[in-house]
Amino acid sequence: MKKADHPFRFVTVSYLTRIENQTATTLGELRDGLEKCSGGSIFYHTFQSLGRHHFLTEGFSNDFAQWVLAALNYPVLAEQLAAPDIRGYLTLNDLRSDLLRITDDYCRSRSEEVGRVAFEPFYFCESVEVTIPHTSEAWTLEEFRRGLEHLSNQSFHYHFLVSRLRLGLRTNDFSLWFENELGLPTLAQRTNYIDVYTNTVEGARAKLFTFVDRELAA
């Protein structure tokens, strides 16, 4: 089994949710909020919401879509806002631009709905991230597997999804290390293709275990 030149360093991550002083009670206000809110807020309501409700594989995985459906009862817009796959974005501003474009298009076509007051307000929040190095690091795939066993759901989510923003690449910490350090591009690609929308976080992790075990057995 190949030994990496650089180890995979597992990270322990924990988040606080900071409640912003910004709320929306109409679609128009949501639109303005999308434009003005912090990147941390876009992150919280899209990337983080997927992790928060990871035990569900039904319903909308981002908070904007969920609110538009539940509080405004605009199912078409809700589906459109839920459509952007966060794995396709390298920066939060790109994601913000798409969410804004979708909302603007809808507002133009249904101007009568822009000012309707929602059943409950939307509260903009943002994530405050605290990370510390985990005690374990992996030099081989076997060690990686052992480390993965000791990773919490939140830290798995950090390496698997949040890493895209940090790396600015269409990949994740795991795949990057498999490919660059272990020379395992197929494992890297399979890992990157695990669908976080149709799997729970536990399900995604189970798939990664399966792929790693297959590689170890080969």
Binding site: T12, I19, N21, F55, E120, V130, I132, T135, L151
Partner: protein
């Protein structure tokens, strides 16, 4: 006036591994490793009864095991002080209140007495709820980190009471709220801090079915027929009368029993009056069981929840609604008002059903009683939701995280 040192029960972190897995507990240890030896003071207004005391009772030993040095102090005051704070509590929830100068004076005087008797020398001081909020006066120098933990719904506060309390809140380093909806426009950072339950406490631990049956027998409840339950203090904001009315609608269509079981807390003098109102509305219906339980009834409450077919929380206002958390943890289908922190727990049609009226409550109870498979699915998904977000270990993790964040941003 004596300072009460609250009783602390001991539970070990390793006890949670079978429920949560080793990784979650290992990560708590990793985070706490950065805070070893740091001192923490928690202050609240009651040592027994109510969700805050319950939480502190469990959180503090775990923080201690993780290597920090926590202390729990309970403020004391006379009956008149707690009547004032109860009035403040209701007013902050939006209830009627006639501002009286003597109430504000008594509030300040009692806080001042507690300030003089308590010691404030920790690196992190967490003041729980409005009752002791004026203890911020003890912060003479800009030393240590002072955090106000507000467990109640401040979305529609009485203007007089909030204007009185607000200047104290402004002097904290941060405020913690159970839901974004509770946060005010404050110049200090506000964080979302879900309350929690302890899955190993007497109120939530798995029970022997024979014990559950024996509790039903003791209270004359028929185990063979559907049981609809609301566990809450007898408090108008929990709308026990509304629950009776919803039950009476359900009863027109299907057979069931109603259990209204409430504890009492030393800082709530209103319970007896509300219980009498409920008795009047129950009209001697033998299928309505009104149980005014003493504070040491955790196992009985646990048994009643486990024996229930549907659990209701029809609050008019709610801080967070830990009884909802308890019900979801027990995989029970829940019908609950969309108020306070309840929507954070009950994701409509995913982890339970949200309602807005007596009629809606009645309809959803009937729906769940008629659809047991869906009821079971909601209960199971609710359990997963609680496991992830609302257990004591998540709460400990949030405290560790805010302490770490405070240190790096001070």
């Amino acid at each position: 006036m004596n300072v009460t040192k609250a009783e602390v029960h001991v539970m070990r972190l390793d006890d949670y591994v079978p429920l949560l897995g080793a990784p979650e507990i290992d990560e708590l240890r990793a985070l706490a490793g950065q805070l070893s030896g740091r001192t923490v003071q928690m202050v609240n207004s009651t040592a027994m009864g109510g969700g805050v005391a319950e939480m502190l009772n469990r959180v503090i030993p775990l923080i201690q095991e993780l290597g920090l040095q926590p202390r729990w102090d309970v403020i004391t005051g006379g009956q008149d002080f707690f009547e004032v704070t109860k009035a403040f509590h209701n007013a902050l929830h939006g209830g009627p209140y006639q501002a009286r100068k003597e109430d504000f004076d008594l509030f300040l005087a009692t806080n001042e007495l507690n300030r003089q008797r308590l010691q404030f020398d920790c690196e992190f001081t967490v003041i729980n709820d409005p009752q002791p909020v004026a203890l911020i006066e003890a912060r003479s120098k800009q030393e240590g980190h002072w955090i106000w933990r507000c467990h109640i719904d401040l979305s529609h506060p009485n203007a007089d009471v909030w204007s009185f309390l607000r200047p104290f809140v402004y002097r904290y380093d941060a405020a913690l709220f159970s839901s974004p909806a509770f946060a005010r426009q404050l110049p200090i950072p506000q964080y979302l801090f879900h309350p929690c339950i302890d899955p190993l406490s007497e109120k939530n631990v798995d029970l022997d079915p024979e014990w559950v049956s024996s509790v039903l027998v003791r209270y004359g409840i028929d185990a063979s027929r559907p049981i609809v339950t609301q566990i809450s203090r007898f408090d108008r904001l929990k709308d026990p009368v509304g629950v009776v009315h919803a039950y009476q609608i359900v009863k027109r269509y299907m057979d069931c029993q109603l259990v209204l079981a409430g504890g009492s807390a030393s800082d709530d003098p209103e319970g007896e009056i509300v219980l009498e109102e409920v008795r009047r509305e129950a009209k001697n219906d033998p299928d309505i069981h009104l149980l005014n339980l003493p504070p040491w009834s955790a196992l009985e409450i646990n048994a009643l929840q486990r024996a229930s077919t549907v659990i209701v929380q029809k609050s008019l206002r709610e801080g967070f609604g830990l009884t909802v958390t308890e019900a979801l943890w027990k995989k029970k289908p829940v019908v609950a008002s969309a108020v306070g922190g309840i929507p954070a727990q009950v994701i409509h049609k995913h982890t339970g059903l949200l309602v807005h009226s007596i009629e809606g409550t009645a309809y959803q109870i009937r729906f769940l009683l008629s659809n047991p498979a869906l009821a079971q699915k909601l209960g199971e998904q609710g359990h997963d939701h609680v496991r992830e977000h609302f257990l004591i270990t998540s709460n400990v993790k949030r405290y560790l995280t805010i302490f770490l964040h405070s240190l790096t941003h001070s």
